[in-house]
Amino acid sequence: MDATERMMLSFTLNGRPVEVDVEPSDLLLDVLRNRLGLKGTKRSCDVEVCGACTVLMNGLPVSSCTTLAADADGQTVLTIEGVAQGGELDRVQRAFVEHAGMQCGFCTPGMVLATTALLNVNPKPDNAEIRHFLRGNICRCTGYIKILEAVKSLV
């Protein structure tokens, strides 16, 4: 593929095929929020530290604040909007609700997606493995205890 002013991307977003034309320098986060209307993915630190912008690319977490939209071309992307099925919260979301694993909610989309990825790659993580995997998702409200309880309830 050669350089183009704008590029047409096609990828699978939350289970459905999408097409969107972008600038090569557009970040995935901005395309999701501003072009595709998916505001659940948040920008916070903007430097790959906090995890508020987490989306799953082919099942694994990436920082959409520091990923080119072009990288999604041909891939499978899951955002928080794609987690619930048929209007029903999925089991990770339910666990966060049941264990009060959120307060302001700003980190929650990233926490839920990181947890989803963890359980995909390791369905029975022990406490140390949970903490290790979620270490890069920062929460300023809960103190993490409730979040860890929510995740542990899924193991």
């Binding site: 600038e23 903007d46 995890g51 890069g136």
Partner: protein
């Protein structure tokens, strides 16, 4: 911040990569995981008119064994190396190191090639790969060359890689069955302030040690004085010899004050971590998971 605009190229073979790097010279950068490059573009400390995405060039990812070497494609992510069966079996300490880099998202996107080529001093893999005696394959239009890991990084953000060369693979000689490696690092920020890689390599009953310090200086440094002091010393006799040699060597390291701590603090860390890494490699204490 948003990056300034650039043109994006997604070649599907190395010939096209070389052609683009050649054509655009100073205006082009290879693009791998982007975990360093995009941050620098967003902060506008770097500027390129063209990015050449290496991720879809076939043959640059994955791990295989060949002629007693572990051959790692430069586009392999830290996450894939942390979970790779060959890496876990033959160089478990390098798998563990990969598993402790940054956070899960940086490990998933960030590649070993990008880590080495960026040569940010506060990095984990270089010291370990140097201790393991790894070599790097650089390919360009006119062919390929091998460079020892020990010679690849010249200083902060500088390597011997030519602007039109691509790092394609990292080769680690498979360690002898009796050899053991360990890596100990510490830092209060995202990246390591100091990291020490140690190898315990007994040969026909005689213990040899390999010890490299990373992150503390602009490039990884071999702690030869410690290696020499420990030559032939069995694990149960390391005690004072190791503590003294580690402290003396740490004092000589070219550290400087920065956000990660003062030079004195980092030399102190280097002495402590050297002791721990050597003891772990020699089997003296259970491997501890980094915090």
């Amino acid at each position: 911040m948003l990056p300034h605009r650039f043109q994006y190229h997604r070649p599907d073979n190395l010939e096209q990569v070389f052609e683009l790097l050649d054509r655009y010279g100073d205006d082009v950068a290879p693009y791998a995981g982007g975990t360093e490059l995009l941050l620098a573009l967003k902060a506008r400390v770097l500027r390129y008119e063209h990015l050449v995405d290496l991720k879809r060039v076939p043959g640059l990812k994955g791990v295989c064994e060949s002629d007693g070497q572990i051959v790692i494609g430069a586009l392999s992510s830290h996450f894939s190396l942390a979970t790779d069966p060959i890496v876990k079996r033959l160089v478990p300490a390098y798998a563990a190191l990969s598993d402790n880099i940054a956070n899960i998202r940086v490990r998933v996107s960030g590649t070993i090639g990008g880590n080495l080529c960026f040569a940010e001093p506060h990095a984990d893999p270089p010291a370990m790969l140097a201790a393991l005696g790894a070599s790097l394959t650089l390919r360009g239009r006119d062919g390929q060359r091998r460079v020892a890991m020990a010679d690849f990084i010249e200083g902060e953000f500088t390597t011997v890689r030519g602007p039109a060369e691509v790092l394609t693979e990292v080769r680690i000689p498979a360690p002898a069955a009796s050899a053991r490696y360990a890596y100990c690092s510490f830092g209060h920020l995202e990246r390591p302030a100091v990291g020490i890689a140690a190898g315990y390599c007994p040969e026909r009953g005689t213990p040899h040690y390999r010890i490299w310090a990373g992150a503390i200086a602009g490039r990884p440094a071999q702690l030869r004085s410690v290696e020499d002091a420990l030559e032939g010393v069995p694990p149960d006799k390391l005690g004072d010899v190791l503590a003294e040699a580690a402290s003396a060597a740490a004092q000589e390291l070219p550290a400087h004050d920065d956000l990660q701590g003062s030079a004195d603090y980092k030399r102190h860390l280097a002495a402590v971590l050297t002791r721990r890494a050597v003891e772990q490699a020699a089997g003296l204490q259970p491997r501890r998971k980094a915090a």
